[in-house]
Subunit: 338 residues, 2 copies
Amino acid sequence: MSTIKDVAREAGVSIATVSRVVNNGPKVGEKTKARVLSIMAELGYRPNENARALVTQKSKTLGVVIPDLSDPFFASLANGVDKVARQNNMQLLLSTGLITEESERQAIRLLLERRCESIVVHSKKLSDEEIIEFANKVPGLVLIDRFIQKIADRCIWLDNEEGGKIAARHLMSLGHQQLACISSKYQIDDPALRFKGFKNELTESGLSLLNQHIVEDEPNLQGGEMATQKLLASDTKFDAIFVYNDAMAIGAISTLEDNGYRVPLDVSVIGFDDVLLSRYSRPKLTTLHYPIEEMAEFAAQLALGNIKDVTAQQISSGYKYIPRLVKRESTSLHSFSK
Amino acid sequence: MSTIKDVAREAGVSIATVSRVVNNGPKVGEKTKARVLSIMAELGYRPNENARALVTQKSKTLGVVIPDLSDPFFASLANGVDKVARQNNMQLLLSTGLITEESERQAIRLLLERRCESIVVHSKKLSDEEIIEFANKVPGLVLIDRFIQKIADRCIWLDNEEGGKIAARHLMSLGHQQLACISSKYQIDDPALRFKGFKNELTESGLSLLNQHIVEDEPNLQGGEMATQKLLASDTKFDAIFVYNDAMAIGAISTLEDNGYRVPLDVSVIGFDDVLLSRYSRPKLTTLHYPIEEMAEFAAQLALGNIKDVTAQQISSGYKYIPRLVKRESTSLHSFSK
DNA sequence: TTGAAAGCGATACCAT
DNA sequence: ATGGTATCGCTTTCAA
């Protein structure tokens, strides 16, 4: 691959001049500019970004730390960051790894070694202290999907608890009174928060407690099916279920229908996340929209320093997103005719 | 961020020595090594990869060119490449853009400017000539999802036509004789190939022609629904449908059921791609598995030069993958009782 | 075992 | 308007 020197030599000018035309610098003679340009084309010259990064001290790179791209949720996150990268003439550098303390640490380090000045981090295992330490060292590091008080103004997160409350209100507004839950013991604390909000909202409204709360390991279709089987086996009466996420909710619907229940006629089901699946299921799933891509875009802008007016509110509680209820077909008015 | 000089100064050694301990080089005194190491930790020193790339002429970066990450198909592709990147101590650099000639060209160029020596390219708009030109310039550039004879040994692609044949055989083996198709005029030629194979297999087996072939614009749920409405409105008799992809197939099932048809009892439906959705639909979708992640992993290995034994076969027709039939619930034996 | 120095490919300041 | 050159942070001979 030819370098700036090659171009300079062929064009009979100095590398300084070549550099100027490459960067559309001022003060370059029309003739020389034309000549250099043609030589560049002829040689197929492409400036070396690594060399540029070294001298300019900027990498034109937006880093993102996530477990991997196999989960559509993280793919959306990465896509949001990538969108912003493109808008800013930068590229996305991906740093993936297991959800373990060491992998997360390593993923961030690799980005730092590339001198990424803007990084969107999704981390569940690193301690608050270590993240704060990184954040202090890197002004362009931003945390997504997690809230740490000391660096609140760099946190973009979803209020899972409020999501639970919204779900509860929705089901109650439809007249449901016998509410069941299907949760998951995932490696993160989102499930717990969602159900905490759900439960609190119920008790505030008089409904003493959940009839039944099933916890299943795997937050996927099978997990939802198994949980629902357990729920049915427990012989509890219920007219609505709040499920940890959409995948499990679809599993729940499947098992309910296999057992003669009609959704939403007999049982309302509400999910969480609003992933692609929820629009494809039958009945289409009522759920809470998790605006991860929008959040990721915002996170990227924040990492780039493009967000200027920060309110006191944001300084204390970060950038908090509230999930939005998406009413589709899996929930409906409770039929008292039964 | 501290540099190698800082470390050298603090440790009272030369930068050469520091470099040696950073790279686990040979011939370094135990005591000095220990001292340097401790200073490095103290300073939080991280080697500058850009500087390294400049001098070593390797970027430790695996590039991938795709339209974006919003489509799960491309997310899987990127995930496959990323897996291999990690295995090889490299990172994924993403270069996205619209499906236009200029964006695709630009995406590749950006990767070249970073001196990415291994690149997995998904390109639909660039001309064969231009791709060949890039390929000749970059030995580590590999094409996925497209076949170009002149660089056959750098092409990883799916035999869409064979997929169509497999679908036809499957439906015929179930006793179906009145076959309809739902296609899409997407920006690529995959649909055409799939249906060419399907049609050819039918004619070879005596079934003269498709009863009906509906072409819809959008290859998604709505497109599938609309196409199916048209199909029903056309008043043709059919007992099975071959649909361009899973999303459309799910739309088709939805519309069929809304109109009183039972799937697969009255009509068998087969999709293509085997995306996540197909396992979540009810009935679960019979489809053709498109092993895109596996293909992407292979492509990445090929780009890295890790594939050694190349057969004559591969030199002439590239790395061809055959879609695999995944029998689930949306197809079944034709009931002649009707 | 360690250090000095050349050089990777650019940018940018200082001259001319 | 153009050229010379120091410099970015690191690797890698070549000497000592």
